[in-house]
Amino acid sequence: MKYLSEFRDPEVVEHYLEELHKVATRPWTIMEICGGQTHSLVKNGLLNLLPKQITMVHGPGCPVCVTPLNLIDKAVYLAEEKGVILCSFGDMIRVPGSSRSLLEAKANGADVRILYSPLEAVKIAQEHPHRQVVFFAVGFETTAPANALSVLHARRLGLTNYSILASHVLVPPAMEAVINDGEAQIQGFLAAGHVCTIMGLEEYEPIVQKYHIPMVVTGFEPVDLLQGILMTVKQLENGEAKLENQYSRVVKANGNPEARKVIEQVFEVSDREWRGIGNIPLSGWEVNASLAEFDANRKFSISIAKASECADCIAGQVLKGIKKPFECSQFGKGCTPITPLGAPMVSSEGACAAYYHFAEADVV
């Protein structure tokens, strides 16, 4: 498959591993930001092939994992109490809310639908003019353009029964939160390739300068990841801190201006609570006031109690790279993908699920 097979080529992988072994002379701690990168590292068995000096810690870039409990409860409430057709991406529906997940709400009779695209939800709204349709708009900068487009599309069609429950989060503020937290002692970052496809590189240069930390925008295939790690380690070994782009076949310096235009029309920056991490100022997007009728938060009166997280779950420490999933007392025991205590055990991008599904027995 063009653009995929060459990035999974065993000989190229071998070459980069040899280079890494040659270049890495001291211990380095590198965080990969995106859950997709975590997933690929574990799925392809790369963690066991890296030189011992290199420790990869897994970042907060799993949108499902950081969506606050409160918002899941809101989605469940809308589906159960307001009788809306609640549309969602697949991996969101298994994440436990404070009393139940959307999947359980569906089993209890709520109309919950799994979609691949928010535009499908607009189509459902057109087909069901007498019912309210809400799309659970979760994600980082990557999914924001499509979610924003669905709002503009619904407005163009004159729909009054479509809205989104937005839970958009932004990578740069989260990176700064992880650095400032300090506990994880991150020395370099693999920045999230697909986020930069939309946003470009501009936002990252100031972080690199301010904290003097190497950063490489990296893709998701084995060769991408190894190349990204190699570029980061080279900088670290040379005492440099630069912003580099490994994923240049996809990421352009100015990102995707058209997509950003759509985002700007629909969203505005706001403070956002991150599940497991807490409130991060100016780290999210919400629907701007001029489009209030497409914002499920404003459109429906939602009365739910403030919920508290499961006390045994260390998701926050996992998401900040302080602990590995298997350092949790509940990992694989009280907490499994069938009975998840926290979101990282549910999402296919979650670090806990990645370790549970794919890690080798001797690693776990």
Binding site: D9, K43, N44, D91, Y116, T142, A359
Partner: protein, 339 residues
């Protein structure tokens, strides 16, 4: 299609009264005709002896018509294949319908014709059946149950207990095709593809293998729901042995691989209908693969793994790039991911 006074199924067609009779006499009996069914009795009556396999399965697939097949054909092939996996030669099937009020006669007739064709191809007779109708909204157009009987091949001895460390694992054809073909027509996920389901009766292929290799076929499994990964996990668990799975030789159509990448699905967990897996002694494996490649539905056969005393009860995938990972049982349904 016969000339009928009705063009949709109504509750009356399941009442057991005049309408039920009209429906059956209008052509259903003729279509599925055989001496045992022709008795029109409460059940089929026949002589039977020897080692026997008996299996049942229910079919609830949606949509009922999909690229490359339909629920009727699937209901015959599915039970035929379950019997074949026991090393049996399928002979008789039962056929029960739960119809939803409002199903069109045209659709029902099309399914019946497919059922007949599938039964002919597999060489089985439908000897007894039942039809119930439920109110609109209480079903999903049509649910089908089939049960089947067959004599076990005299040379066959199929059991998980026969699986030995060192056995090679063969897959008879490209994996994940059925699941992806269905996915391509599901509401909300439609994408354009020329893929068609691989639904097929595997009994003739299996019989040819048993004729030649007999007890060297240690175990047969068809990786339907849950896919190849689930079958291998079941075998590892039940045999208390480990399974090595090699990514490189696993046959998969390029289009299926691409769709799995796009949808974020792991083909190892995607359902198959016309594929089986065989556990065989290492020294016979190559010969068995060569034979399979000469048989219908076996052209893409390949050795994809082996059984080991290492890592008991675990399936370990050896990735193309030399990494290793555990392949677990599927949790719930495979769900599309966000990004």
């Amino acid at each position: 299609m016969p000339q009928l006074d009705f063009d949709v199924i109504t509750l009356g067609h399941g009442s057991g009264g005049i309408l039920t009779n009209q429906l059956l006499e209008s052509g259903v009996f003729d279509l599925l005709k055989n001496p045992l069914l022709d008795e029109h009795h409460d059940g089929a009556m026949f002589e039977w002896s020897g080692r026997t396999a008996f299996s049942t399965d229910s079919y609830v697939i949606s949509p009922i018509f999909f690229p490359g097949g339909n629920i009727g054909e699937l209901a015959v092939n599915g039970t035929v294949n379950d019997l074949a996996m026991c090393g049996a030669v399928p002979k008789y099937l039962s056929l029960s319908f739960i119809l939803e009020e409002g199903l069109t006669m045209k659709e029902f007739w099309e399914l019946l014709v497919s059922i007949r064709r599938a039964a002919e191809k597999a060489g089985v007779s439908i000897v007894t059946g039942d039809t119930k109708v439920v109110e609109r909204g209480k079903g999903d157009k049509i649910f089908i149950n089939t049960s089947g009987l067959g004599n076990i091949h005299p040379q066959a001895h199929i059991s998980t207990k026969n699986v030995r460390a060192g056995d090679k694992i063969i897959v008879s054809g490209s994996i994940a095709t059925h699941g992806i073909a269905i996915m391509s027509v599901r509401e909300g996920l439609e994408f354009e593809t020329t893929l068609t389901s691989d639904s097929a009766p595997l009994n003739h292929t299996v019989k040819a293998l048993l004729d030649e290799f007999g007890t060297d076929i240690h175990l047969l499994k068809d990786p339907t729901r849950g896919g190849v990964a689930s079958v291998l996990n079941e075998v590892a668990r039940d045999s208390r042995l480990g399974v090595n799975l090699f990514q490189q030789p696993i046959p998969i159509l390029e289009e299926v691989r691409g769709a799995c990448e796009l949808l974020g699905l792991d083909p190892l967990y995607v359902a198959n209908e016309g594929v089986f897996m065989a556990f065989v002694p290492a020294e016979k494996a190559e010969e068995i693969v060569q034979k399979l490649r000469t048989l219908e539905y076996g052209q893409d056969a390949a050795i994809i793994g082996d059984v080991t005393t290492e890592h008991p009860k675990q399936v370990v995938l050896h990735s193309r790039i030399g990494g290793k990972r555990v392949v677990n049982m599927l949790v719930g349904e495979q769900l599309p991911r966000i990004c």
